[in-house]
């Protein structure tokens, strides 16, 4: 006579698969995992140092850009014959906007991140996809941005993470900038 426990177990696992022993891995996988973790830690440290420096630099650049009303570095003039200095925004330097330098770094970074996102969207809309050789880097950078966004969902006020995000977005803008510049020179040489 089977107990209720045995009846239930037989219903859940009628073929007694749980009776199979654990399978043994063919090799110790730890050395490979350890190497991956150490590499990640090393890159994380480098990014933190770079991110910290960039946070300061990015805040300064953003503040300066806002103060002067100029586009961020990486903007190409809409017309190849026009320079940044010729733009109306540059002419407005006589009346500088009030002191964005007093903004806390986190807000500056968030603002810069939004500004860069907008710029990338605009470039993407006007210039279309990047050439395939550059696209690979763009996809990798976007993957990294997704990872940073995941981390930001847990720590939304992390200056370090926002600076990493800005850093990565700047890298993406550089890809577009270089690609547009290449195209501009190609057209100019025709």
């Amino acid at each position: 006579m089977m107990t209720r426990h045995e009846v239930r177990q037989r219903a859940d696992d009628p073929l007694d698969l749980r009776g199979l022993p654990l399978a043994d891995p063919p090799a110790d996988g730890w050395p490979e995992i350890e190497a991956a973790l150490l590499e990640r830690n090393r890159r994380g440290r480098a990014q933190r140092i770079g991110g910290g420096l960039l946070a300061v630099a990015a805040s300064a650049v953003l503040a300066f850009s806002l103060m002067l009303g100029r586009p961020l570095p990486g903007d190409l003039p809409a017309d190849p014959g026009t320079t940044v200095a010729d733009t109306p925004a540059a002419a407005a330097t006589a009346e500088p906007t009030p002191a964005p330098l007093q903004e806390p770094p986190l807000e500056s970074l968030i603002a810069m991140s939004q500004q860069l996102e907008g710029r990338i969207r605009a470039w993407r809309a006007s210039a279309g996809d990047l050439p395939s050789d550059v696209l690979v880097y763009q996809v990798e950078l976007q993957d990294l941005i997704v990872q940073v966004d995941e981390a930001l969902s847990a720590s939304p006020d992390s200056t370090e993470l926002w600076s990493q995000r800005v850093n990565l977005l700047l890298d993406v803008t550089r890809l577009y900038e270089n690609s547009l510049r290449r195209e501009y020179y190609r057209m100019a040489s025709l």
Partner: protein, 187 residues
């Protein structure tokens, strides 16, 4: 009732150290869970090399995302989900596992009399199942997943899970029947 082989408790201190990035703590976690992780990957993929890759990638993913573990459920359940997700993605991405498995087991050697009715039969019979059927029967019968959880993993309906489970069990019974009868019948 025996639970999942994953059901190993992890002390809070090791978990906290791992979340702070301690490689030594990660190794402790690996040592505690690598056999159940490999085992579930092997039962699903039924290929030692693939199972090893799945387990490795799953541990790296888990350690990379360990800060996302919120502690509202046992750690082993969270880790098992990472491993199973990797295993399911792998078998769905790479259907060649089926071909390898079938090739390996198409003409199994006749079991020796003393092996009849043993775990060896069950292992070989599992190897003959369709990959998704095997994953479903293992996750349901051994790991204790319900049909909804399995359906979510595969991105399918609960009917998919129920059908595959029924088909897998039926096929296993067919495969095991002659052996078990000859051995005096385990069931």
């Amino acid at each position: 009732m025996n639970g999942s082989p994953f059901e190993i408790e992890l002390d809070e201190m090791t978990l906290a150290r791992a979340r702070r990035g301690s490689v030594a703590a990660c190794e402790q976690i690996y040592r505690a869970y690598h056999r159940p992780a490999y085992s579930v990957a092997f039962r699903i993929a039924h290929c030692p090399e693939t199972a090893q890759e799945i387990a490795q990638e799953a541990f790296i993913t888990a350690f990379r995302k360990i800060r996302q573990y919120r502690g509202d459920a046992p750690f082993w359940g969270w880790l098992r989900r990472v491993v199973v997700n990797h295993a399911i993605s792998t078998i769905r991405r790479d259907r060649r596992h089926d071909a390898v498995t079938l090739q390996d087991f198409h003409e199994p050697e006749p079991p020796r009399q003393e092996q009849l009715g043993t775990a060896m039969d069950l292992e070989a019979a599992l190897g003959l199942l369709d990959t998704e059927d095997r994953a479903v029967v293992w996750l349901h019968d051994v790991e204790g997943y319900n049909h909804k959880e399995i359906a979510d993993l595969f991105g399918k309906t609960e009917s998919f899970s129920k059908t595959r489970l029924s088909r897998a069990r039926s096929r296993l019974r067919d495969l095991l029947q002659p052996h078990r009868s000859a051995a005096g019948g385990l069931r």
